[in-house]
Each structure stands twice: as C-alpha cells, then as structure tokens.
C-alpha cells in the first residue's frame, strides 16, 4: 500500500492537531471508535458476524467440515484462518493471491484465537486419529478505514460465539454450540511522532511510524502481540500500551459479550 495517497497538507494537519492533543476525528488518544455488531449476519454459515469499527466494516464467517487431524495432534480439531482484502473495500486492494498484508492479518487474527485457546479444540474431536471437525474462519473486509486487526479479530470472535457445530448434517449426533471458552480482545495502537493512539483510522495509519497489537484475555493475561510498520517503540511506550490495552479490552468485553 503506497504512502503517497495522503496529501502532504493532510499529513501536516494530522500532525499539527496531535501536537495540540487532538485527533483528526475528535477522539481521545485512548478512545476506540464506535463498534456496531451484527451477529449471525449470514445465517447459512455455521456462525457469522458483521462488525463495524467506525467506518471499517468486516464480515467474519465460520464453516465447519469433517477432516483428518494432524498427526501430532490426533485428538484435537483443526482451525484455519483466512483474511481477504477484497477490492471492494479499498482502491488499494487488488484481487489475486493474498499479499503480505492479508497474510499478516490472517496470522495475527489466528494467533489471537489459537493461543488463547478460545475454542476448546479437544471437544472438536470425533474419532481420535481419524475424524475431527475442521473449523474455517474466513474474514472479508468490506470497507477499509484503518485498524483491520482489531475489527477482524473482534468479528471472528463474535462469529465463533454464535457458531453451531453442524453434527446432524454430517450424521454425527446432535448439533451443539461451539465450545468458546475464552474472550481474547486485541487492541491496536500506532505511534505518530511521540504520540500513541488507540484504534487508528486509515489516515492515522498512513502517517504512523510504528504499530503494535496486543491481545488480552478475560483474566487480563497476555495472549498475543504483533509489532508492525517500520519504526520502533521504547520500553516505556510498550508498557504504557499494555496498560491501556488491558483496561480498555476489559471494558469492550463487557460491552460486547
């Protein structure tokens, strides 16, 4: 994604506003955009959710199938996560094979869910070593206005929360709700100059020097982190972001789930 799509005038405007303690859309530095959650948006999917984070709009869908387990984990289900940055969402997204941006997004969402053991994968085993449930998490970006990491992670979590394992369809007993055991919430920050902002919008992302995503679970424990964009953070900045992430993710969890 090219940087020169943002005019120098706008860039200066964002920087000048930040110097006087304001963000371009009037939010506080530690304030997320409004979140609108539409669970079960695609009823034919096993689970789904559309989530709007400000003007960023993503749709997550879950499909389940029966497959064989990996040889090293014969008694747990399999999960795969895929994120598509489709051309509908932004003039800078192109169709074709996934680019590094889409792959990073998939892997960060995947890590947040996998490492926090959000879904009890042991309960997705049908016959050890032979048959397990395979859970596909697919994320479509519909409208891109920054911070896809948080929007996609939240949408995926919300979709998992309303997923039904379609056992009847596969003649494997009765349908049952997907065992969702944890609630990992990711918080993404960017650094612009020496200012740190939670939940950057598109324009803020364009002028940012560095980015950090931190995922906390419902117990306030750390589950995943990812730093991105060419820049660095000091130790103090990292610990400051962890504090903000821990506090705001708890608030968000109560608000959404």
């Amino acid at each position: 994604m090219s940087n020169d799509v943002l005019s120098d005038i706008k860039r200066m405007h964002i920087l000048t506003l930040l110097e006087s303690g304001k963000r371009i859309d009037g939010r506080g530095f530690e304030e997320r955009r409004k979140i609108e959650l539409m669970p079960n948006f695609v009823p034919r999917a096993e689970g789904s959710a559309r989530l709007r984070l400000g003007n960023t709009d993503v749709l997550a869908g879950i499909k389940m199938d029966i497959g064989t387990p990996f040889p090293d984990t014969p008694d747990t289900g399999v999960m795969t996560t895929n994120a598509e940055l489709i051309p509908m969402a932004s003039p800078f997204f192109e169709s074709g094979p996934p680019r590094p941006e889409a792959i990073e997004l998939s892997r960060v969402v995947d890590r947040g869910i996998r490492e926090s053991q959000t879904v009890d994968m042991a309960k997705l085993c049908i016959t050890p070593g032979e048959e397990v449930w395979v859970m596909f998490i697919d994320i479509h970006t519909l409208d891109y206005d920054g911070n896809l990491f948080d929007a996609a992670s939240l949408a995926a979590l919300a979709a998992l929360k309303n997923t039904t394992v379609p056992a009847e369809k596969f003649e494997k007993g009765e349908d049952y709700p997907l065992p969702v055991e944890h609630l990992p919430i990711s918080s993404t920050f960017v650094k612009i100059g020496d200012k740190i902002l939670l939940d950057p919008n598109y324009e803020e992302e364009q002028v940012a020097n560095a980015r950090l995503t931190i995922t906390f679970d419902e117990n306030g424990d750390l589950r995943a982190m990812q730093k991105g964009i060419g820049g660095g953070f000091t130790k103090e900045e990292i610990f400051y972001m962890m504090d903000v992430a821990r506090r705001t993710s708890r608030e968000l969890m109560q608000e959404l789930f």
Partner: protein, 291 residues
C-alpha cells in the same frame, strides 16, 4: 506453543533440557563478510540454528511500481531450506515465512537511512540452513550485520533475541522442545544504540508480570551478549583489512579469496574436468551397451 507432552522442560535444579539456566543463552557465533558476490553478508550460528544473510543494494527497485520516489524500500526475504527442519519443508514461501519477511523488513527499515536512496531497494536475503527454534531472531541478527557489511547507512544495528515461558518458568532463548511444548514465546529485536524495540511478537499465555520479566531477559541478553558479538564480527572483518593495508596488502578482505591460482592448480582443475566428461561418456555408453 500449545503442544502437550509429559516432557520435563526444567528439572528440580532449575536446569533446562540442554543444561542451561533460565537466563542463559545458547552459544552464538557471528561472522561478517562470508559471501564473495553479495554486497554484504553474515553467518550466524545460534545454538543449532544456522543462518546466512546476504544484502544487495541499494539498487534500482523492480518492478517500478514498488519504487518510492522519496526513499528506498527494504525488502527482506526469510526462507527456510527444505532440509533445515525435521520433516522436509516444501520449498518456497509459505504464510509463516511471508509474515516473518514482512516484520523483518519493517524492523530493518526502522534503522535504515532510506531517505538517502529514493527509488532504490535494499534486498536482504536470509536463508535458514538449519532450524532449531529462534530462527527469526538469528535471521534478523545476521541481516543487520550483513547490512552493515554492505555499507548501508544505518542508525544502528538491530539485535534479535527471544524469551518465553516453559515448565512454568520464564526463560531466555527457547530451544526446540521449549518452543514446541512451552507456554509462551516472545521474539523481539532491539536497536541497542537507541533502546528502541523494532520487532516484537508474542504468543502463548503470560501474565503482565511474566511478560515484563521475559522482555527484560530478552532485551538484556540482546544488549549485553548478542550485540557485542555483532560488533566484534564487524571489527574482525575490517580490522584485519586495516592491518593488511598497513602491511602494504590492499585487497581488503579478512580472508582473502585467492585471486591467483598456481599454474599447477589450474592444470589440475582442467584435467579433472576432462576426466569428469570422460566418465559421463563412459556411463552413457555403458547404459547403451546394457540395453
């Protein structure tokens, strides 16, 4: 992470499978300028990890649409050799290596004076020849030495190191079993000159206090152990050439590549080459005879 095993990762004396203490690194060896053709290169052995890094550039970026008219781009490629792991890895980029390449590119860009070379690219190739947990940290450590060796203007070196949690203990520099069956991994890279963190990932399960401890272990080891090894490697590479210049030898290489082969050696090579051809011919005719 997340693997389950009955394996005891830390024994009753607080020692790890390979006998290390919780805050002990694996042995590390770094060498700069190990490849002839590349503009800069480095070799890193980190425990049982073996990583080579080569740098080309600044050179014109292709295709042209990837060029930035204001600055150079840094394109790092992390690749694992098919034979580097237990079970053969399918060659070529997979999602993991694409992600690692991306974050290493961004981390190296953070220290590179890219504004000096508009439209150019600085290509960094990292080949993991043998993998044994912690390859991305070894790779970025090698990459920044290779960039310095290539004479790329940088604000500082980048030093990688990981910490994590295994056997319910926060430990430095996870080994293979600790990575597979441990509880958390925090790979990071810092710029020792400024203290900035330019690469940071985490997966697994840590409390905030445990993270702080892991972060401390990894940054201190990077700063006090790994970074001096990088600096030493670069000094070794160039101190030798200074000596040579003083002695009137000016080819500028610590381990000079022989430019003049003796006539005998050349004759020898030619003869062997001819023998090789002859043998191949014989094999071919042998096959024909057999048919």
């Amino acid at each position: 992470m997340g693997g389950h095993s009955d394996i005891v990762l830390i024994d009753e004396n607080g020692l790890r499978l390979d006998g290390r203490k919780a805050d002990e690194l694996r042995p590390i060896k770094i060498e700069a300028g190990v490849l002839k053709r590349a503009d800069g290169s480095a070799y890193v052995e980190w425990g049982n990890n073996i990583v080579l890094a080569a740098v080309y550039g600044p050179r014109e970026a292709h295709p042209r649409h990837v060029q930035d008219s204001n600055k150079a781009i840094v394109q790092a490629k992390y690749n694992m050799a098919a034979f580097s792991v237990g079970e053969r890895k399918r060659p070529g980029p997979d999602r993991r290596s694409v992600e690692i390449s991306k974050i290493i590119s961004e981390a190296l860009e953070a220290v590179t004076m890219t504004e000096l070379f508009p439209r150019a690219t600085i290509d960094v190739y990292m080949e993991v020849l043998q993998a044994n947990a912690g390859t991305r940290c070894a790779a970025i450590t090698a990459a920044s030495v290779a960039m310095a060796d290539a004479g790329i203007p940088m604000r500082g070196l980048v030093t990688g190191c990981a910490a994590g949690k295994a056997g319910d203990k926060v430990i430095l520099d996870l080994g293979q079993e600790e990575d597979n069956f441990g509880q958390a991994d925090v790979p990071l890279a810092i710029v020792p000159r400024t203290g900035e963190v330019v690469l940071l990932q985490m997966d697994g399960h840590l409390t905030q206090e445990e993270f702080e401890e892991a972060f401390r272990l990894a940054t201190e080891a990077a700063l006090n152990v790994v970074y001096p090894l990088q600096v030493e490697a670069l000094k070794r590479r160039y101190a030798a050439s200074t000596e040579e210049i003083e002695n009137g030898i000016t080819n500028g290489l610590a381990n000079p590549v022989p430019h003049e082969e003796s006539a005998e050696e050349i004759v020898d090579e030619v003869t062997h080459a001819e023998e090789g051809v002859a043998l191949e011919d014989m094999d071919a005719s042998g096959e024909e005879a057999g048919q």
